[in-house]
């Protein structure tokens, strides 16, 4: 019997290390014949720490919220006596568990090994057929046919833009040059997206294998992984994985006994969102300021150190070994006419089951939010989903039947993006969300193009004054005008897409903007300067609110209804928080 603890960053933050240590200590103390092992992230982040008990016949039972204090009972009942604990069970492969619905609608290709294998053990990966896809393509020795099969699979770049992967490889293969490079873009900068981190932490070998296959396809001997420095666990596991693969000659020189050599180097990013853009990323690898340059020439002809380079995303690479093993038809049978396969989404925000989900393309937003992820937290009203991070947009609840494929999402004004999907409810102010994203892109603008540098700054100033109740007539039109200019005069994707969150919120939530500007009200009760606090007659006169008020705006006597002087109120909300009987109304 084996007990596996999910030790991804989410799990560790929820206390999985403590669970792991308790399991080891207590199992050893009780002398139980059980192996305690680590695994990556199974995706149920909302239930971390997660522990799986795997019987010798391979059957699996998953427990959620398994904190260290629950370890003793688990070992005693399930491991020692063989009686699974139904109450704690979230999922089992024989159809039990109260959270099974989370998995039934998912199709796991990218996440196929996540939460199943120990990411720090190459033997685990080899045992499930790891590096066999690489072996297969090396033995066949037909890079053209390999590229053709990736084109046939319909796989499109999962970094956001959705360019066909096989085509990118073909262009790089055909480009003239002795040295060629593969780059894995793991600079997952979109706030709200964490699928690349999870894949790297849970299944690093799949990504390395995908990179080596790509290297063979285009004729590259060197690959780089550009990974965010904010992901220390992913970096640690990638380093382990690279060393293990090199030791077994699955990376390095003479892979699988053939003449093919492929080396992988890790490059840590240094915290610049713009480095997710491919030309900026290459500048950063070269040790320069990460500023984009004009394309063409595209990286496929002139990339890293002026050599032909193919840059693909983590998720794209993780798909590759599966496509080789199962064939392009198996992949293209999933999804819609123009968007094949599956897509991983990082679900976060006001959602009941937040975590990683992988669904076939063509599923609707509604199905993902409600059927897979259980709907809105605290059963509040669903307002919008934000897709694509700062480059994306907000899709309102009215459009929840929109299917998830590149074309349909783009039609709404948002983009597929890398896969961050943040759910918003009635308490989220859409003007504030637009301001939040613009604050981000404004800060992250590299400053090369004037309109991106200054235009986003002006837009942010307008949005900030709207949120502060100082909005003026014509502000919406001014935002639209600036948005068009920034979009059309910026060199790279950051500037071109920076106005998207503003434009989509204006398009779908114009009335909210108008309420802020004309009525000086925030319908979601989020923008503090626009809130009015009033003391209701149900006040019991406890003086709590008067005590916390920093400007002494509240006066009153014990056991008598207090009075709030609006002229002194700074809208800080401390009185509302302090009131124990909900006698302070907010509007």
């Amino acid at each position: 019997m084996k007990v596996l603890v999910g030790l991804g960053t989410c799990g560790i933050a929820a206390g999985a290390e403590k669970t792991y240590q308790a399991l080891q200590a207590k199992a050893a103390a009780a002398g139980l014949p059980v192996e305690i092992d680590k695994t990556g992230c199974i995706g149920m982040c909302y239930r971390e720490p997660l522990v799986e008990v795997r019987a010798d016949d391979g059957s699996r039972v998953q427990y959620g919220n398994l904190t260290a204090d629950k370890v003793e009972r688990l070992l005693d009942e399930h491991v020692a006596q063989g009686k699974p604990i139904e109450d704690w069970m979230v999922w089992s492969d024989d159809g039990r568990g109260n959270e099974r619905a989370y998995f039934t609608r998912q199709t796991r290709i990218v996440l196929r090994n996540c939460g199943k294998i120990n990411p720090e053990s190459i033997d685990d990966y080899l045992a499930i057929g790891g590096y066999q896809a690489l072996n297969q393509v090396l033995q066949a020795n037909e890079p053209e046919a390999l590229i053709a099969s990736i084109i046939d699979s319909g796989l499109r770049g999962r970094g956001g833009a959705g360019f066909p992967t096989g085509m990118k490889w073909r262009f790089t293969r055909l480009a003239a040059g002795d040295h060629k490079y593969i780059i894995c873009n793991a600079d997952e900068g979109d706030p709200g997206a964490f699928m690349d981190r999870s894949v790297l932490e849970s299944d690093p070998h799949s990504v390395l294998e995908g990179m080596a296959i790509a290297g063979f396809a285009i004729g590259a001997g060197q690959g780089y992984i550009y990974v965010r420095a904010e992901y220390p666990k992913a970096i640690e596991r990638l380093n382990i994985a690279i060393a293990q693969a090199e030791a077994k000659h699955l990376l390095g020189d003479g892979i699988w006994g053939t003449g093919f050599s492929f080396h992988v180097k890790l490059k840590e990013g240094a915290g610049a969102f713009v480095c997710g853009e491919e030309t900026a990323l290459m500048a950063s690898i070269e040790g320069k300021r990460g500023m984009p340059r004009v394309r063409p020439p595209f990286p496929a002809t002139k990339g890293l150190w002026e050599c032909p380079t193919s840059i693909n995303n983590v998720e794209t690479f993780a798909n590759i070994p599966w496509i080789i093993t199962n064939g392009p038809k198996a992949y293209s049978s999933l999804g819609t006419a123009n968007s094949k396969g599956t897509k991983v989404f990082a679900m976060a925000g006001k959602i009941k089951r937040g975590g990683l989900v992988e669904v076939p393309m063509g599923i609707s937003i509604k199905e993902v939010v409600f059927d897979v992820c259980g709907g809105i937290k605290n059963d509040k009203k669903f307002k919008a989903v934000q897709m694509g991070g700062p480059s994306g947009g907000c899709i309102p609840a009215e459009l929840q039947n929109t299917t998830i494929d590149y074309e349909s999402i783009t039609k709404t004004g948002a983009i597929m993006g890398s896969g961050g999907l943040v759910v918003m409810d009635e308490t989220t102010c859409m003007v504030d969300v637009a301001r939040f994203f613009l604050e981000f892109t404004q800060r992250e603008s590299c400053g090369k193009c004037t309109f991106c540098r200054v235009g986003t700054k002006r837009m942010l100033e307008v949005l900030t004054r709207i949120c502060e109740g100082k909005g003026k007539d014509g502000d919406i039109e001014l935002l639209e005008q600036l948005a068009t200019l920034v979009r059309s005069t910026s060199l790279c994707g950051l500037g071109q897409s920076a106005p998207n969150p503003v434009l989509t919120t204006i398009k779908y939530f114009r009335s909210e903007y108008e309420a802020h500007i004309t009525n000086k009200k925030c319908p979601a009760h989020n923008c503090k300067p626009l809130l009015t606090y009033t003391i209701l007659d149900s006040c019991i006169g406890c003086l709590m609110c008067a005590k916390v008020c920093p400007t002494k705006a509240i006066t009153g006597e014990l056991k008598k209804v207090h009075v709030l002087d609006q002229t002194k109120c700074t809208h800080c909300g401390e009185c509302h928080k302090a009131c124990r009987v909900d006698a302070i109304a907010v509007d």
Binding site: A13, P191, K267, R289, G349, G420, F440
Partner: protein, 159 residues
């Protein structure tokens, strides 16, 4: 880290490799806590990269600091999920508890507050990271508790 390794960046790390400036700055910050003026001069002397270029790179990336930070670095996540889950309130609570503003260091040099774009633990929002420990699903009350624990530990170490 030994004296030898500290002062021999060029030989110990990434010697002769193209694009070595960023890894060098990262190791320098790891060693010194921030990028010191002396280190910039040293990298220039060892690698021949112009000081202006080193400074340009060091100020471009958010990771690099040109000023020292407190013993405990508190990173408050302001990613989308954390933002909609109340990251502003968390920042305010931390600022109030420590008596400093975002970006500042406490007079006793024990804590620095820094906001970051996304720590990638969105399903646990709101999240903060103190040194390398992540704390998720925070409320204003909870974050004060976490800070108190760290304050006690930090003061204990000093004494």
């Amino acid at each position: 880290m030994s004296e030898q390794r500290k002062y021999d960046f060029k030989k110990q790390h990434y010697a002769g490799e193209e694009g070595r400036l960023i890894p060098l700055l990262q190791r320098a910050q790891e060693t010194d806590g921030y990028i010191t003026r002396e280190r910039i001069t040293e990298i220039h002397r060892d690698c021949g990269i112009p000081v202006a270029q080193i400074y340009g790179v060091a100020t471009f990336y958010a990771q690099f600091r040109l000023h020292p930070v407190g013993k405990n670095l508190i990173k408050v996540c302001h990613g989308t999920a954390c933002h909609v889950s109340g990251a502003n309130a968390i920042t305010e609570a931390i600022e109030k508890t420590l008596g400093i503003c975002n970006g500042e260091t406490t007079p006793d040099k024990l804590f620095t507050i820094e906001t970051v774009s996304c720590l990638g633990c969105c399903s646990l929002a709101p999240v903060i990271m103190i040194n390398n420990d992540t704390h998720g699903n925070l409320t204003e009350k909870e974050v004060k508790k976490v800070l108190k624990q760290h304050q006690r530990a930090a003061i204990g170490e000093v004494q």
